[in-house]
Amino acid sequence: MEERAARQQLFTTLYQKVFPAVAKYVNKCGRSFDEAKDVFQDALVSYYEKSHTADVTINSSEGAYIYGTARYLWIKRYKQGSQTTQLDDSSAASIIAETDAAPSEDKLLHFLETAGKRCMELLRSFYYDNLPMTRVAQLFGFSGVRSATVQKYKCIEKVRETVKQKALTYEDFLE
């Protein structure tokens, strides 16, 4: 997949360009490589999600955005002494929109990763990577936008049925 290769190239470049500055900052505060890695990777995710959302514009250079986000996350997570503050910290969540799963959703996600990989990949391309439908059609080998759209809805239906079934199972389990 070309998109995957392009992302790999992008992240490699950003690592080379921005990670040293984040590492310097974290080290200056007397802290470890792992902490630098941790916040830097989350900042990359935030940058990717922001830059792939049509209605959000990042008003600074990519380097400044990633460095600023990493620094912010690091201060939130580590500087206030609490090692346990993770992404669910309410302020950090304003930068990285919180979508961490509830335990039951975790199981569901795991199930979908194995049983419904192709549908999840298709839905990811459209809703997470925000690729245009023409590109999604190309990538997944559909004859055109129309059949790709039909497949997209079929996938939503399939995942939705799984969600419903699992909800029933959990209710049974709780009783």
Binding site: S32, T99, M120, Y153
Partner: protein
């Protein structure tokens, strides 16, 4: 499929105001529709989680490459020097 498209427009705020009101009214009267709306909402949330999880794996793969492969030696040394320097 029509229903799925309609729920999608509703959840992603792509309805005309009049249609939105009508849809709200329909959900009040139709329990099955309500279940479908909430399950479909969960589908978008799962896709978001799935996307983020995959992306994190891709980033970690890049990290592993940078910190193991011979052609990135000078980058590694640069980072190592930063953490030696306290």
């Amino acid at each position: 499929m029509n229903e799925i498209a309609q729920i999608e427009r509703h959840l992603l705020n792509r309805q005309m105001p009049g249609d939105a009101l009508l849809f709200e009214a329909k959900t009040l009267l139709d329990a099955d529709l309500r279940v479908n709306v909430s399950s479909q909402q969960q589908v978008y949330s799962l896709v978001q989680q799935y996307g983020r999880k995959q992306l994190k794996q891709e980033i970690e793969a890049v990290h592993q490459q940078l910190f193991t492969q011979p052609e990135h030696l000078s980058f590694r040394q640069k980072i190592a020097r930063i953490f030696l320097n306290r």
